[in-house]
Amino acid sequence: MLENIKILYHQGKQYIPDVSTAKVPGIFRGRPIISNAKIDEQALVDLCPTGAIQKNPLSIDLGKCTFCGECAFASPDKIKFTSDFKISANEREQLIIKEGDDKHIQLNPELIRKEISKYFSGSLKLRQVSAGGDNSCELELNACGNVNFDMGRFGIEFVASPRHADGIVITGPISENMAEPLQICYDATPKPKILILAGTDAISGGIFSDSPAINRSFLSKYKIDLYVPGNPIHPLTFINGILDLIRKRK
């Protein structure tokens, strides 16, 4: 017992006091900024492994981007990744960053259903479904609940059954073999429920988008409440995205 208390004392405070203003260490690649510099745009389009870069005007789709940073290495004057981790959005178009854009990504309050803030602002229980996820987003979703990020302090938790859940967080490109279990899980979740796509693979299929082994028909049936880009998602991107979703009111 005494030893346990000693360890507790040595550990001190580990949590991040304010998740919305925290700084991430190192050279995190978050929201990119694209300058007006004139460069060979086609070369960047050809370079991107997942077709996230489009030209005229040059843009990066964070829903497709793997955040590998190769474009920024190839053309440092044109593309710069900032450490802004607040890149969750509730409109797919918001994830497309165009030349000259340099503003924070914010949720569109018009698109947040009113039952979300009414029922979930103080407590949100989520069910996670990995549908072809590579266990990187899954590791980071687990990290959201650890003592550093401590998502539980906001009443946000992952639960073991869809019956206990207020929403579903999908990771992975949705493999054909997971399409049916995902549907069953969604149907078993009581209404009202929210749907969150976490990670590039979930949002667009990522590098797997044209694989014959995936089946994304589930996504065309429902409204997506939150897109959380990243490869994998950063815990702070996820937590801030959800807090914005449940606390914002029209």
């Binding site: 690649r29 492994p49 190769e70 072809g132 650890n146 014959p212 994998p232």
Partner: protein, 499 residues
């Protein structure tokens, strides 16, 4: 007549140099190798060639530090005697050949689907109709778990047959994560796309699989990796081992409801993966390892930060582990739980921790060293009790060992080569193989090129391919309530298996 060609890890050979044997000789040669424990099957696969199927078997010889490769050409619709009948460790590879190409085996004891790949031979074989083993009895009951699990983990279905609380049999059905990776390796033509695929094989083993890929690719292109590239890869592999092992210790504590251990080990992982972010901008090292180049040269400052990290990590880690291992309530849950005997582990061909827990010395860092491992003279950590506690102890010792290795490596940080040789195109009509020791165990990538140097076949083997059967054997006669801790102590990959 030579029955095989003997090569080293990360070697490229002309495809035609692999001897083609009659199937009977092929079977006899490869199965008889397994009479010696220093031989094991690293990879065995088929690929279509001119309307027929070419089978290639790669056997590692851990004593001679070589890989013996042999092949045979068969008709895909033939019925063959199985390797599995002679040695169980081939079971998963023959099941895969059967599933992908329709080859029938006359005497395979367990010819069940592996992953329901999209291009399987029999489309009538559906994931929802998996043929589970059943026992008719009024006393027994079945428990089905998954594919979606209670925690935030990947999907897989576990079917238990229990007598009361005791597990008699567990069958593990996988394939839910199948994304068609091997096929995408051929279809995606850009090197960056293929590297991205390698990073996504298993997101918890980014350094392991990406190193296997880039080593193979550079070799195929006749590129000799400079010291600084090898340094970064070795460093990344060991850091990944430290990070994931620490996280696993946290998860083991969670599964036995030891809150303090769960929190402290969990938070100790944070600075290690944050260090990856400091180095390369990604907490799980995606983007770090690239063939023929390094976007994130390792600097002296990064070295100092890492030493500082270890100085803070080690005392906290040791304090927590020392307390953890003295608690009777912890030991009661870990000791003698989830035992796989040495005979079982050897017969099913386990690798990595699942081999080292039961006295089997199997570690690529020692037996087939790549990158800077030949300098480190790695001594594998071996345990003999084969229980959850053995697997826990291996993690703890490997973490401390890896820290020592990294401190040694950091004494001599190579300068970035600013004048790197250019990466050429892959050599035509070739076969290349690459082995790395990921934190889970042996990773094997094989590639075959056509006459233009284009990829004709790409084969990935995650250590989980060998080891999933060990989980099923480990839980026999244990209480079903011990299943989570057994499963976590192996921590195998679903997506690495399903590809």
């Amino acid at each position: 007549m030579t029955k095989y060609i003997s090569i080293k890890n990360n070697q490229t050979i002309p495809l035609q140099d692999i001897p083609v044997l009659k199937y009977e000789d092929f079977l006899e040669h490869n199965t008889s190798l397994l009479k010696e424990e220093h031989n094991h099957c690293m990879s065995y696969f088929g690929f279509p060639q001119g309307g027929k199927l070419k089978l290639i078997c790669c056997m590692a010889n851990d004593k001679e530090h070589t890989i013996n490769i042999s092949s045979s050409v068969i008709n895909a619709d033939s019925t063959l005697p199985s390797f599995t009948q002679h040695h169980l460790s081939f079971h998963i590879f023959e099941r895969e050949i059967h599933e992908n190409y329709g080859v029938k085996y006359s005497d395979h004891q367990w010819l069940k689907p592996v992953r329901f790949s999209f291009n399987r031979a029999d489309k009538n074989s559906q994931i929802k109709n998996y043929p589970f083993y059943q026992i008719e009895s009024e006393e027994l009951h079945e428990v089905g778990v998954g594919p979606i699990h209670a925690g935030v983990i990947e999907p897989g279905h576990f079917r238990f047959i229990c007598n009361g609380e005791q597990i008699l049999h567990l069958e593990i059905q996988l394939g839910f994560q199948h994304r068609g990776i091997e096929k995408l390796f051929l279809e995606k033509k850009k090197l960056l796309q293929r590297t991205t695929l390698a990073e996504n094989i298993a997101g918890d083993t980014v350094a392991g699989h990406t190193t296997a890929f880039v080593n193979l690719w550079e070799n195929l292109c006749g590129f000799k990796a400079d010291d600084d590239l090898q340094f970064s890869r070795t460093l990344a592999l060991e850091l990944e081992r430290i990070a994931i092992h620490t996280g696993d210790l946290s998860a083991i504590c969670t599964d036995i409801a030891y809150q303090l251990g769960s929190s402290v080990f969990g938070r100790l992982r944070t600075p290690v993966i944050n260090y990856f972010q400091v180095w390369c901008g990604n907490r799980l090292a995606k983007g770090l390892i690239r063939a023929g180049k390094n976007n994130f040269p390792f600097t002296k400052e990064l070295g100092e930060q890492l030493i500082h990290l270890f100085n803070e990590y080690e005392p906290d880690f040791k304090e927590m582990y020392d307390e953890f291992k003295t608690l009777p309530s912890v030991l009661a849950r870990l000791e003698k739980t989830g035992v796989v005997t040495r005979e079982q582990a050897s017969s099913i061909g386990t690798v990595g921790m699942s081999a080292k827990m039961s006295g089997i010395v199997r570690d690529i860092r020692t037996t087939h060293p790549h990158d800077l491992y030949s300098q480190l003279h790695h001594e594998p950590i071996i345990k003999n009790h084969s229980d959850v506690y053995s697997r826990t102890q291996i993690r703890k010792k490997e973490i401390l060992q890896s820290i020592d290795y990294l401190k040694t490596l950091l004494k001599n940080i190579p300068n970035e080569n600013k004048n790197r040789q250019e990466l050429k195109s892959p050599s035509p009509n070739s076969f290349a193989v690459s082995l790395t020791e990921g934190w889970r165990g042996e990773i094997c990538h094989c590639a075959i090129t056509d006459e233009k140097g284009e990829l004709l076949h790409y084969k990935v083997k995650d250590p989980s391919m060998h080891n999933w059967l060990a989980v099923a054997l480990a839980v026999r006669n244990n209480e079903i309530s011990d299943f989570p801790i057994c499963n976590k102590s192996f921590d195998l990959s679903y997506c690495g298996h399903d590809l």
